[in-house]
Symmetry: C2
Subunit: 313 residues, 2 copies
Amino acid sequence: MASKEAEVITDIAAMRNWSRSSKYQQQSPTPKTLALVPTMGFLHAGHLSLVRRARSLADLVAVSIYVNPGQFSPTEDLSTYPSDLAGDLRKLADAGGVDAVFCPRNLYDYVGGGKVRRGDDGGEERGAVSCVEGEHETWIRVEGLEKGLCGRSRPVFFRGVATVVAKLFNIVEPDFALFGKKDYQQWRVICRMVRDLNFSVEIIGSEIVREVDGLAMSSRNVHLSPEEREKALSINKSLSKAKFAAENGQETCQRMKLLIIQSITEAGGRIDYAEIVEQETLKPVEVITSPVVICVAAWFGNVRLIDNMEINI
Amino acid sequence: MASKEAEVITDIAAMRNWSRSSKYQQQSPTPKTLALVPTMGFLHAGHLSLVRRARSLADLVAVSIYVNPGQFSPTEDLSTYPSDLAGDLRKLADAGGVDAVFCPRNLYDYVGGGKVRRGDDGGEERGAVSCVEGEHETWIRVEGLEKGLCGRSRPVFFRGVATVVAKLFNIVEPDFALFGKKDYQQWRVICRMVRDLNFSVEIIGSEIVREVDGLAMSSRNVHLSPEEREKALSINKSLSKAKFAAENGQETCQRMKLLIIQSITEAGGRIDYAEIVEQETLKPVEVITSPVVICVAAWFGNVRLIDNMEINI
């Protein structure tokens, strides 16, 4: 397939206009379908697998590249989140091309004065806060699914994700949207939001793409030192062992979680959580009698990594 | 204009399909525009004025009729909220007709088991609760505007309104949506939600329609006894007096609010609130130096009424 030049769009109205005029064309009897791959950029093979999947599903493919301040708290790594727009555009072209790339400047700036705070400057009057400052005050809460796992240590994360994805859906108006299952809870939150708010978007969850040594692909991996990267393999290794054990009759979650925690800690990681939960509700289980997912978050140096494995028994 | 038979639609997919196929027609070079008038039914002249305004704005008009359990708490009047679908359809036809009427059965039932609780049955584990039971867990919060005025005594009201309006927007896909300014805070909440979530819907706020004696039209007026109805005129009278005073140099809000409270209380009403606030932010003001709105909520018997008047000085 010949690579093609994507239309790079930064303006919200231009993006919606592109979507509508591309989908509804005079000469075509039925509207074309559009798939959106929402990303925060610094693309890797995981993103590109989503793009390929998108092309197989829909007539048109758009990729959004936007580091969303709404999902970072002021103490998190918004300021160091990696970015490389030129590189991203090249990777997309090399991977066969997409039809449009949406790179908005600031999705929370309504009056020309919307600021983004990139670090913790202390005083803050409101309750849970993100890096969005200014007039924005509408947040989508998926009240059950947002609470556990990553929600415990990142209280503004899922409201920020749900809100920006709703904004992107309303701007891009896709028929499909693709999310990597590496961010398992995020995928479930979005599925629930789409159902509960009747968005006419079909959500596709795509399998985790790993490096050859098993590390789950993540834009944050670039911040790992070679030593940290080596230690971080303990996540995938311990998840694989636990999955093998579960598939061979080990049913007691407490023991499996302890083994994961022990193995990551011994490798030099700092555990945020290791949980075994139901796949749809993300409710913790004690004994595995139906499909579950093992979810892990752990720090290596200053880098927080997440990973998971589904167990379908 | 000849009245026409509206298409009455109860199914979500059928509603979206009607909207898309009506807007995008092969023979038409540009899509038709669609205006939505969201209502809870039991239509009165206020609703019909929104319908007329909608017809002047758009090629197609849809009215939704749905008593939204998401905006009622279990202690409120969901079970006694008046309804008369046959009468509503007749009124719409008599008023010149609309293109579609959307009357969904239960917008929160995703798995066939979604229940609605119509009264307070005591035990409730969650925090702020509405009359929605079951699997729904996504709520839109307009965190600033939802708090004051009606938000104080009705803590789940605006999240319920914002959420159901988002659902209706995603199902009906209108270009315009019309709201009465009688529900002033609701109108402002919806405007803010639309801006913050990038809905491509233009929101129109329409002036309050009053009975000849000045009472603001409301579906709940039907529950007033003749005596209560007479007493309720004190709302409009005291608002008019306060507006007159403000327009003639009275700037001190404290005194104006006291006069309103006194006048309604003396008439036999029970004040929920009387506030003078900025028109866009709904923040209370002490002295009137820019456009404000006086907002009142008061009980007459078991009926809670709201009303307001803008002062544009």
